[in-house]
């Protein structure tokens, strides 16, 4: 299969079940909401090294937030509810509670939940108070610029993590340009995030390494500087590879983001320097979610 002259491998991305929550962070201005969102989603690229994968899903206008202020919705993914609870506690506690003028709300409903204000309230040292408004319960924690208002609990749902595709091209600039186009398109897809820096990963990994202490290491098959000495997966003309990893609240969201990203990456055609699109998998034996590239693009 070819898309604008770019080869699309007949392969699939293999993804895994995760647990996810959505938080809505608001502030007096979108700049401060974004600052809090970016801070709390820093160092959250991979569950292997960070314990959680997180990113800003989208910016929210005043009409779409619980308090009528501008905000951002943030998606966080972890391997279990317990891991997610720890990440939410630490990241909201250190990055949102501390950020001027912010408030934090649950963005998902559901029976399964993780504590939000319920664990952060102790910062109030006894001066905190709960307030139920309608069906929602908030904690009011006194801070130096007023009160930090935080919803009591946040809903958790089953989600999909690890959708991916790789872009192979003739130059680093060409592949980066394709990846940037892809990310711009994928950010329009709701319920999905790309947790790596700017949404893009250059360090695609394989499971394990020659070192006992390292559970994941560089995927030499796709390293262009090694193609003369390893069993390379790259054509001679390929000089650069970038990967986009996608986490989504649903399988459909991951698939939609992948399709949008691949189409945008290929928009400049083979003339743009992109050679091939492929995807990472483990032979289909580890992850229950398989995203076949040809099916996504049909």
């Amino acid at each position: 299969m070819r898309l604008a002259g770019v080869a699309i491998d007949d392969t699939f991305a293999e993804a895994f079940g995760m647990r996810a929550t959505r938080l809505v962070v608001t502030a007096d201005t979108i700049r401060w909401a974004r600052t809090a969102g970016e801070s709390m989603t820093g160092f959250a690229t991979s569950v292997i090294g960070c314990g959680v994968e997180a990113a800003i899903e989208r910016e929210l206008p005043r009409d779409d937030t619980p308090d009528g202020r501008p905000g951002v919705s943030v998606l966080l993914f972890a391997v279990s509810r317990e891991a997610l609870a720890k990440a939410v506690r630490d990241r909201v506690g250190q990055c949102v509670l501390t950020c001027p003028g912010t408030a934090c709300f649950a963005g998902l409903a559901g029976d399964a939940q993780v504590p939000l204000g319920r664990v952060l309230r102790y910062f109030g040292d006894g001066y905190q108070s709960a307030k139920r408004i309608g069906e929602r319960r908030y904690w009011r924690i006194p801070v130096m610029d007023g009160e930090f208002v935080c919803e009591d609990m946040a809903g958790v749902q089953r989600a999909v993590g690890g959708g991916n595709f790789l872009m192979l091209g003739r130059s680093r600039a060409a592949v980066l340009a394709a990846a940037e186009r892809a990310i711009a398109a994928m950010r329009q897809v709701p319920e999905a995030i790309m947790p790596f820096p700017g949404g893009i990963a250059r360090s695609g990994s394989k499971v394990g390494s020659r070192y006992k202490f390292l559970p994941a290491s560089t995927n030499e098959t796709f390293c262009p500087t090694l193609k003369g000495i390893v069993e390379s997966g790259l054509e001679p003309e390929v000089a650069s590879v970038l990967e986009i990893v996608i986490d989504g609240l649903t399988e459909k969201a991951v698939g939609a983001a992948m399709a949008a990203g691949i189409r945008a990456a290929c928009a400049a055609g083979a003339e743009g320097g992109l050679v091939r699109i492929t995807a990472g998998n483990y032979g289909g034996k580890l992850g229950p979610f398989h995203f076949h590239l040809h099916e996504l693009l049909r």
């Binding site: 619980p66 308090d67 009528g68 001066y127 108070s129 307030k131 408004i133 908030y138 007023g146 208002v149």
Partner: protein, 267 residues
Amino acid sequence: MTRLVLKAEPPVRVALDGLIPERLAALSPAEIGRLPLAVGNRRELVGDWFRVESGDPAQMEIEGDCRRLDRIGAGMSTGSITVTGDAGAYLGIGMSGGTLSVAGAAGFGAATELRGGIVRIGGNAGDALGGSLPGAASGMRGGTVIVAGNAGAQAGQRLRRGLVVIVGNAGAACGAEMIAGTVVLGGSIGVHLGVAMRRGSIIALGGAARIGPTFGDCGVHDLLIVKLLARHLAALGLGALAGRLGPLRRWMGDAAVAGKGELLLGT
């Protein structure tokens, strides 16, 4: 809609316990008419005082001069009851769900020990709105009561949870012994407000007659939680009241007890 039309104003007080949508759902008008009714200290039948017209059992309407009808909607958990005139004492006592609307005024003890649902009173409410029964540890434990007019003394006494909205003024000892929850007043509030309150919020946009010495002035603040409350009030159809919520002076107390309650007063 199932309609109960009062045939004549009763000479004594009548208790309407049990005449709620979930209890009448499976009954025909004739069967409803044969239900017992406590009229003063006598036991009579519903049919002696009401003309029963059948309809959607989830929606009830009580028509007539209902000032002597007490305990309307007592224990109700679902559906709706509409009273076209005034209501007597203990309107919606112990109610846990559904909607109870009174076009006119309500008597003593409306929404006593409310646990859920919405009580709407189109006129004034008597004393002990959303309060507790004598000896009870707490009053309202959930739900919402909205009074379009004024309320008497001791509104929200021992409030544990839930929302009391009084668009007009409230009498003395509003929120006395409050445990938690929220009282919102569009008007002013009488003396002894929040006396012995432990936690919870009393918001009075019209200010207060006098604030006790066991409350501390924490200054004027534009609180986000008030904005959230304003949006909730607007969703309840109280947009005019919600639009008036802004910066308020915060007093914390009552220091004679836990001292974590707050009075938010119009400036």
